[in-house]
């Protein structure tokens, strides 16, 4: 393998890896407020992508497609929280794992029946003619992924730091009980985090679809890698998921070139198990002291 091919594999892999990082970011948002995450997140990505595709097919302008897509994602996020997470959090058990898995199953089955089982292309106004930069080919679509991912993450971080609602979000993440005593509603904050997480999932769907096509199985493929990214990086570090996401994306594109495309997903999964075995809090996470 020449250096140039390697560089090419790394760059295009890393750009896709940013999408995994974005989905993983959605996990971090809900984990921060409620220590729970949506196992049906992949289906949120997929359903939002299908919804946006339908809008595109109805000739809705691209900007509005994105806007409605985000809104739809937020609604799905709120729906997940209301149906599958809140009851388990109220009972202080891990029922949300089961309930979000059930929700994912339901959404997947609905999508299959509404939009069909085939993979479909997602048309976009952004060009897919490669540009030659420093000996590596990059398409504007791939670049739009990078721009989109960073823009969304920056926007959410700004929201958390600059607005009152965002500060409430941070307060509940830091200490739920203290936050509630200060008059912040923890359950609304958790719902907000799920709405944000849904928005992030919808953007991930819209960004990745032009590259990978849209199909009922796209969610499962993305979510497994997002899980790996979130666990390997740790569920707290936003910087960590970007680094690990890009690394993992590059790694899998090299693996699929060298070993065979069937093995494409193996490195991420093995990394996940290894990370959990060696460092359960993730590379960028902090250990907690047990108290009795």
């Amino acid at each position: 393998m020449t250096g140039q091919i390697l560089a090419q594999l790394c760059v295009s892999g890393a750009l896709i890896g940013l999408v995994y990082a974005l989905v993983a970011y959605g996990f971090q948002l809900t984990y921060a407020t409620s220590k729970s995450l949506n196992f049906g997140q992949g289906e949120l990505v997929m359903v939002s992508a299908f919804f946006s595709l339908t809008l595109v097919e109805w000739h809705v302008p691209y900007v509005l497609v994105i806007l409605f897509g985000l809104l739809f994602g937020a609604l799905l996020g709120i729906f997940s929280e209301r149906t599958s997470v809140r009851i388990a959090l109220e009972q202080k058990n891990e029922g949300w794992i089961l309930l979000t898995i059930i929700l994912g199953l339901f959404l997947n089955s609905c999508a299959e029946n509404i939009w069909g089982r085939d993979d479909r292309p997602f048309p976009t106004p952004i060009s897919s003619t490669p540009i030659h930069i420093l000996g590596v080919d990059v398409t504007p679509i791939e670049l739009s992924v990078a721009v989109g991912v960073f823009a969304v993450m920056a926007a959410v971080e700004l929201f958390k730091r600059r607005t009152l609602l965002g500060k409430a979000f941070e307060a509940i993440s830091a200490d739920r009980d203290a936050g509630e005593l200060m008059g912040i509603s923890a359950s609304s904050t958790v719902m907000l985090s799920y709405a944000l997480s849904g928005v992030v999932a919808a953007i991930a769907g819209i960004l990745v679809s032009p590259i990978t096509t849209v199909g009922p199985t796209m969610g499962a493929a993305v979510v497994l890698k997002a899980f790996s990214v979130a666990v390997v990086a740790g569920l707290e570090s936003g910087f960590g998921i970007v680094v690990v996401g890009m690394f993992l994306g590059a790694l899998e594109s090299i693996a699929s070139f060298q070993v065979g495309s069937g093995w494409r997903e193996a490195p991420g999964l093995i990394l996940l198990i290894l990370a959990l075995a060696v460092r359960p809090t993730g590379i960028f996470g902090r250990a907690v002291i047990r108290k009795v």
Binding site: F106, G262, W263, I273, V278, R290, V292
Partner: protein, 652 residues
Amino acid sequence: MWKRLLLIRGAELAMFVVLLALPLGINNPYFLGLLTLLAIYGILLIGLDVSVGYLGQINLAQSAFLGLGAYAAGIMLARWNCGFITCCIGGTAFAVAMGALLALPSLRLEGPQFALATLSFTAVTVIFLNESEWLTNGAQGLTVPRPPLFGHDLSPKEFYWLCMALMALTWIAMRNLLASQWGRAFEALRDSPIATDAMGVGTYRHKVAGFALGSGLGGLAGALYAFNFQYLQPQTYTYDLTVILLLGVVLGGRKSLWGAFVGATLVALLPNLLSNRTLFIGISAAGLVFSIIAAARGLLRRTTKPFQALAPVVATGVLVAGGALVSNTEDWRRAIFALMLFSVVVGLPEGLMGFASKFLTNLFRIPPQVLPEPSPLESVLPERRERTATPILEMRDLKRWFGGVKAVDGLSMKILSGQIHGLIGPNGSGKSTVVNVVSGLYTPTSGELVLRGETLPSGSLLKTSRAGVARTFQNLQLFTGMNALENVMVALRGAYPVSRNLPLVLLGLGRREEARARADALALLEFVGLRKEALTPARDLTYGAQRFLEIARAVARKPDVLILDEPAAGLSHMDIQRQMEVIKKVRDRGVTIVLIEHHMDVVSGLCDVVTVLDGGKLIAEGSPAEVKRNPKVIEAYLGEVESKPALPTATA
């Protein structure tokens, strides 16, 4: 007693007789195939219930173990021409080994991380089976002709009987396991892993063994699955299957053999259920009516919250409406399953069988178990006669720092045998850290712990507990799901020499030990005055009784040194008096006691020696009266004062 046994065992026996007899009456190959599948799924789900029900972990790897068992058996047959029994054993053993391999790193994790690890394992397994064409034939699939058993070609009926017999054996073995110390250990580690270790049971090893066993059953089911379908394909064992299996267990009811069986029935019959539209609409309508009744009852009596009451009604309502509207129900198979599950998980968290067993217990008035006579106390907690007061536990320059905080900073003290040694100090003086370091929860930053002249292992609750130091917890760490008697039985030291061997337990050889352990535990409950509450679940005991139960449980360790961490916190005056009597009685049996306490009257009334800590350092030591007069102690509690102040009393 007999009624209970007759009804429970009778129902099991009746079910197996009917299942075994069914093929004699009905000669339909399709029906026989379903029954065979039911037996195989039964074994698979009983295995899955070990981790999902008893260990309380969301396990998404059971389909991988089914696949690994199936392929191991298939490859042994295809490559090395092994026989029926060898293949079954091979499939099981391979799954046990892989299960242990996965469990070793993953079971240190809790909650979502464990679910993710198992999910990844399933995905990696499918990739491996798909891509390793040299071994598994990849996506083309592997043909596995059913080998003869002892030279006899099995007919479909005979194969069914074999599978059903194996399921019955699995059932019996599992029942033996769950009725033993193992079953209690599983339950205990789910309620409080810290207390499980502190009671010398070993959270981690029980988790790994339990998970490996469940995986092994998955492997056995896999081998039978291979010989049933005689054709294997990697795509069978993906996420979809694993989710459906998991949800089957939940739907049937966790922590129940019957629940696993009901779940298996549903998973096996689901495709047929959906192909018959009238039947499907009938069942969902029944579900709707049931959930409406349950919702109305729950809302009127205010026992359920609106969401919990109404969500199942909406979900089953969508099912009925959908059944009427949608033309092909089979295409919506997974959505339908999801809706059914959603209503059960929200409305009946204990699953169908959890609900049914409560209902039937009331209906038939199944009496609770009868308790034996308690053993004589002398045989449970033999009195030790060491009146010479030699040092039994020593701390030498013990330090525990958390970053810059020196919680314990160079503490040296000796605890003499047969004494009650008080450890007091203002809040934040490092008492709890000392307890946590000595009992093994924290590893000391430096320093040494010596018990009876030998170095005490550090940094492991389990090892410390086994070395002879027991403790109670300031914030109660009872096994809340178990009754008082079981709480004590878990901790009983040296009561289970046979039950430590998993194979012997599966064969049911631990029965005699169980009877003895019950009597012993009852004696300890009587010792602390809780004999009447023996069968009350720990979470339903009064707060005072829970404190006494903590002591009884720690005493069951038959410890050399017993550490009581603020045992009187929050107790009423009367309970405090009773507790002081109990603590004296424990000391009189020859157990050395370290008492951390805030109530000065308790400390004065009980302690032979008192050590006072402040800022992680020892500031005074002596008899309670001496310590109370010590100016440094007074300063630590009240701040610097000029004239002689009043005595420090309860501070917390």
